[in-house]
């Protein structure tokens, strides 16, 4: 099957997910009538994180964003599909073989408080990945940790403090320093700004932009906050019920969304102009799930065979929408 967003040969993406899936088996029922229901948290996800860019992964809570991120990090085993880091398939690597690849891919979570050991000084917290990977002497590690604290905007004096002494924004800075000290090529950031205040949020967004450019980082930025994604990301993928339903350059999503679910998300963003207040119409999840766009081949930006099974098809260069494809323009409905 032709992947519409296939990148140019030779340009290996930083991270690529191919047909990634995760099914949880939930036990339900009593002791006697034990049943197992399958929860398809993530289904057939294809994602390409290009080098030196920021890809946003958006969707409501429960749509499968974190599960996808955790699988990409090999912190959760996928039930289907493959994970390619800099072109190498790391899906089945054992822990020893995986260790060098772990240096290349790091993570920052929303709640960094629980990730920062309260018993360690911040200098120790930030130096910890170096120690785990056996890099440098203790003195070198300490010095690099202090330098990283400065780089994320905390003066060196913070090195002797503890996580509980920090504000939410400062803790996120420490978590970012700790994630980047190994010089990874990929950073997975799972809602890193969602718990922060407005002015602190802007500071962390700017810090991530600066570090991305300075280090040539590739960032998978997971968020339910579309406003942040608009300012930060080069490209956006929209997740709904475990599937990617639309993906495009950021302004392709914000200016020309085609999938009903994407549109409903965009429509719900509070407007900053009180003169633009309006009554909104809300569509149920079931209604949105049933409203699969039907596109004719003539509307597509590429040669795609007709298909009754919904799949991601290009509606413009680099703009993919999950749709059914008909041969005849007249049978078209929906988007």
């Amino acid at each position: 099957m032709g992947r519409p967003d296939r990148i140019a040969p030779g340009d290996v993406p930083a991270l690529e997910l191919r047909g990634l899936g995760k099914t949880f088996h939930l036990r339900s029922g009593g002791v006697l009538r034990r049943r197992s229901t399958a929860l398809h948290a993530v289904r057939d996800v294809d994602l390409v994180l290009p080098r030196n860019g920021i890809l946003g992964l958006v969707g409501e809570s429960g749509s499968g964003k974190s599960t996808t991120g955790m699988m990409a990090l090999r912190l959760l085993e996928p039930t289907a599909g493959r994970i390619l880091l800099e072109g190498t398939d790391i899906t089945t690597l054992g822990s020893a073989a995986l260790k060098p690849w772990r240096q290349k891919m790091q993570v920052v979570f929303q709640d960094s408080y629980s990730a920062l050991d309260p018993m360690f000084t911040l200098q120790q917290v930030v130096a910890e990945p170096l120690r785990i990977h056996g890099i440098g002497t203790p003195d070198e590690r300490a010095e690099r940790a202090l330098a990283w604290l400065e780089r994320v905007g905390l003066h060196r004096g913070y090195g002797s403090r503890y996580a509980h002494e920090l504000s939410g924004g400062q803790r996120q800075r420490v978590a970012i320093a700790r994630a980047l000290i190994l010089g990874p090529s990929v950073l997975i950031a799972d809602e890193p700004t969602s718990a922060l205040d407005v002015s602190v949020k802007a500071q962390i967004i700017n810090l991530l932009q600066d570090l991305q450019q300075d280090m040539g980082l590739s960032i998978l930025f997971i968020s339910h906050d579309l406003s942040v994604v608009r300012s930060l990301c080069d490209r956006v993928a929209v997740m709904f019920a475990g599937r990617i339903v639309e993906a495009a350059e950021t302004e392709g999503i914000f200016g020309a969304a085609r999938h009903p679910y994407t549109r409903s998300l965009l429509d719900a963003i509070p407007q900053l102009d009180p003169r633009n207040r309006r009554r909104r119409q809300f569509r149920s999840r079931e209604d949105l799930a049933a409203d699969i766009p039907v596109l004719s081949r003539a509307e597509l930006a590429g040669d795609v065979a007709p298909s009754d099974t919904p799949r991601l098809v290009p509606v413009a260069p680099g703009h993919l929408v999950e749709a059914r494809v008909t041969a005849d323009p007249d049978t078209r409905s929906g988007a």
């Binding site: 914000f254 407007q271 900053l272 909104r280």
Partner: protein, 332 residues
């Protein structure tokens, strides 16, 4: 409120909420957390007011103080006036206060779990709230509870009546809490970050619901939030707080179209997603003040690009700017 107050909403009935020069401190072993340092605002019947500010600016404590929901001690509250529906809440007894809470003012929170007792069903708790304020039969109160759950657009209201708080999703529980708050027909609803923990689509639905209910019940609304988008969507007038003080108050249109205070302006431009294209945001450097050691002068001066010597030493008074606008800044 006295006639000389420059910010009294013109030509309106007696205010439902009056807060004048409110100070709230929390004594600690090593000093005092000065959570609120001289806050004044009021709300007329049926009016909607947004209280916007970053976390720690004193929004919740101000509202809890006028609702008498702060325990004293530890909290130390002083005010020139603190009243609900004309009743001085500082002088009100326990029973009178319980009566005011519910029939005059009700409050909803970010985390609805705090409003419900986990061991009783939703229905039982709403029925109890109704019966605490009015003499009705349990059967009648239950019918009322059902109608309320339907009014807040809970599908399957009859089943929800018998379910327990932990069985509901965040959005559903938020609706149930709103139903409980409305059960005594309050004249003003304090909504403290009611949508902060919710997804954007659920948030939009809850905000719409609150606005509809405000219209239907002719109820006043105090919307407490750190999100200027929520303010733009829901209220007519806005109070901007910072470091335990009011920085600016104006109509929602003026706040967005001609913000007077440097803090309001800085906050507005730092909001992400206003323009297309990946870009650095105009951030406010530095951090919010430490409430146990607030800066002298204007609390915003350490982060303010326009600050001069006077801003560092003296707190500017609220200056009326006409048309109900007022701001506390030396550089107006």
């Amino acid at each position: 409120m006295t006639a000389t107050e420059p910010f009294a909403p013109a030509g309106q009935t007696a205010p439902i909420v009056e807060i004048e020069d409110l100070q709230v401190g929390f004594p600690q072993l090593d000093g005092t957390v000065q959570a609120v340092r001289g806050v004044s605002f009021s709300l007329a019947a049926g009016e909607s007011l947004g209280i916007v500010g970053e976390s720690g600016s004193g929004k919740s404590v101000s509202c809890m103080a006028v609702m008498r929901l702060l325990r004293t001690p530890p909290a130390r509250i002083t005010a020139r006036r603190l009243a609900l529906d004309g009743v001085d809440v500082m002088a009100a007894g326990r029973r009178q206060m319980a009566e005011l809470r519910g029939s005059v003012a009700a409050m909803i929170f970010q985390d609805p779990m705090t409003a419900f007792d986990p061991v009783f069903s939703i229905g039982t708790q709403i029925v109890e709230t109704i019966q605490a304020h009015r003499a009705t039969t349990t059967r009648a109160a239950r019918a009322e509870a059902l109608a309320l759950l339907e009014r807040v657009e809970i599908r399957n209201a009859a089943a929800i009546l018998d379910s327990y708080p932990h069985q509901l999703s965040g959005g559903m529980l938020q609706r149930a809490m709103i139903a409980m708050a409305l059960s005594c027909r309050p004249r003003v609803l304090f909504a403290d970050e009611p949508t902060t923990a919710l997804d954007v689509t659920v948030q939009a639905q809850i905000l719409q619901l609150i606005k509809d209910l405000q219209d239907d019940f002719g109820m006043g609304l105090v919307m407490v939030t750190h999100d200027l988008g929520v303010v733009a969507e829901t209220v007519d007038r806005v109070v901007v707080m910072y470091g335990g003080r009011v920085m600016e108050e104006a109509s929602v249109h003026d706040i967005f179209e001609r913000p007077a205070h440097p803090y309001t302006r800085a906050l507005l431009v730092s909001i992400p997603g206003q323009e297309g294209g990946r870009r650095r945001l105009t951030e406010i450097p530095g951090a919010s003040p430490d409430p146990s050691n607030p800066p002298t002068g204007c609390p915003f001066h350490p982060r303010c690009r326009q600050a001069d010597a006077r801003c560092r030493t003296d707190m500017p008074a609220m200056t009326p700017l006409g048309e109900g606008r007022r701001a506390a800044c030396w550089r107006l």
